[in-house]
C-alpha cells in the first residue's frame, strides 16, 4: 500500500503529493522505466548522489518505487523501478485519499463524489 507523507493542495502538479526531489525522480523513473541512482544523478544534475539515493530509499519505503539487485558487469547495484505508470500511481493516491475522506466524513464524501461524477458526465 502506498504511503503519502503529506499533501499540499496549494502546490503545483506532482509536488502536491511528493517533495520536489521525489517528484523529479519519479518523472525520471517513468521516463526511463528503470534506472540506477547514478543514472538519476546524471539526469538531475543539481542533486548529489547521496541525496538521490536517500530520496529513492524513501520512495521505496512509501511504495512508489521498488528495487532489484543487479550484479552484471562485475558490480553490485540497485536498479529502481516505478511501482506503476503515472496513471496507476494516480489511482493509488486517489484511493488512499478518498478512503481517508470517507473514513472521516462518511456519506458526505460519497455524495460529493456522486455529484462530481454526474457533473462530469453532463459536460
Amino acid at each position: 500500500m502506498v504511503k503519502i507523507e503529506r499533501i499540499s493542495l496549494n502546490k503545483q502538479g506532482l509536488t502536491k503529493f511528493f517533495s520536489p526531489n521525489e517528484a523529479r525522480i519519479m518523472k525520471v523513473l517513468w521516463e526511463l522505466s528503470h534506472s540506477t541512482s547514478a543514472e538519476i544523478t546524471r539526469e538531475c544534475k543539481d542533486l548529489s548522489l547521496p541525496c538521490v539515493a536517500g530520496t529513492l530509499d524513501r520512495l521505496v519505503k512509501s511504495g512508489f518505487a521498488r528495487r532489484e539487485i543487479d550484479q552484471s558487469e562485475n558490480r553490485v547495484r540497485y536498479i529502481y523501478y516505478p511501482t506503476g505508470d503515472r496513471r496507476e500511481i494516480g489511482v493509488k493516491i486517489s484511493e488512499r485519499i478518498i478512503e481517508s475522506l470517507i473514513d472521516t466524513f462518511g456519506d458526505a464524501t460519497i455524495d460529493t463524489l456522486g455529484k462530481i461524477n454526474g457533473r462530469r458526465k453532463n459536460e
Partner: protein, 220 residues
C-alpha cells in the same frame, strides 16, 4: 570527613595502601603508554588496574561501607545487561536485512580469508560484527571493485587486530574509564598496504566518511 578517616585508616591497617598506591601508579603509567603508543593493550591494562583498585579498596575498607561492594556489583550487572540488550537488538535488526551471497564478494572472501555479508540497504555501511564483515549495497554501488577491496581490507584489520568491542565497552563502563580509541589509523595503513593507497583514498572520499581528509593526509 568521618568516612574519609575511616577509609585511610582501614587501608593503612591492612597494609593495602602501598599495594594500592603502586596499582594507581601502574594504571597512570599504562594510560600514558596508551596515549604515546596508541596500543589498546595498554588501555586494557589500565582498565584492569582500575577495576582492581576499585574492588580491592572497597573490600579492604570494611568500615560500615560494605554495602558499596553490592553497589559496585550492581553496576557491573547493569552494564553487562544493558550492553547485552543492545547487542541483541543489533542482531535482531540485522537478521532480515542480509541477502544471499554475491559473486564478486566471494573472490574477496577467499582473498582475505573472511566471511562477508551483504546488507540489503541503500545507506552506506561497513563494519564488523561477531567475526563477520558487513557491507551495504549502497556502499558497494558507489565504489569500484578495487575500492571495495580497500574497504574489506580495512575491516579485515578490525576483525583480526582490534579488541572485542563488547568486552572493551563493559570494561570501560565498570572501571569508570573510557572506551578504546578506534584504531582507524592502523586499519587504514593495512588497507593501503594490501590494496593500494589510492584505492583507499578514493573510497574514503567517495563515501564522504567523517574526517576523511584528515585520514587521507595521515596516509601520505
Amino acid at each position: 570527613m568521618n568516612n574519609f578517616y575511616c577509609f585511610t585508616f582501614c587501608l593503612r591497617e591492612s597494609g593495602m595502601i602501598y599495594i594500592l598506591l603502586v596499582s594507581v601508579a601502574l594504571a597512570i603509567i599504562c594510560l600514558f603508554a596508551y596515549f604515546l603508543k596508541r596500543r589498546h593493550e595498554f588501555l586494557l591494562a589500565n582498565q584492569i588496574f582500575m577495576i582492581w583498585i576499585i574492588t580491592s579498596s572497597i573490600l579492604t575498607m570494611g568500615c560500615n561501607m560494605f554495602h558499596l561492594i553490592w553497589v559496585y556489583l550492581g553496576i557491573i550487572i547493569i552494564c553487562v545487561l544493558l550492553l547485552g540488550i543492545l547487542k541483541l537488538l543489533i542482531n535482531l535488526r540485522h537478521s532480515n536485512l542480509i541477502i544471499s551471497s554475491i559473486e564478486i564478494i566471494s573472490v574477496l572472501e577467499e582473498h582475505f580469508g573472511v566471511t562477508i555479508k551483504i546488507l540489503d540497504i541503500q545507506r552506506i555501511r561497513a563494519y564488523t560484527h561477531r567475526g563477520v564483515i558487513y557491507l551495504s549495497i549502497g556502499l558497494m554501488e558507489r565504489l569500484e571493485p578495487d575500492e571495495i577491496k580497500a574497504v574489506v581490507a580495512h575491516e579485515t584489520y578490525h576483525l583480526r587486530k582490534s579488541p572485542n568491542k563488547f568486552i572493551s565497552s563493559i570494561l570501560a563502563m565498570i572501571s569508570f574509564t573510557f572506551l578504546r580509541h578506534s584504531d582507524e589509523y592502523y586499519a587504514d595503513r593495512f588497507a593501503a598496504e594490501v590494496s593500494g593507497a589510492s584505492n583507499l583514498k578514493n573510497a574514503l572520499r567517495k563515501l564522504d566518511i567523517k574526517d576523511y581528509s584528515k585520514r587521507i593526509e595521515q596516509l601520505s
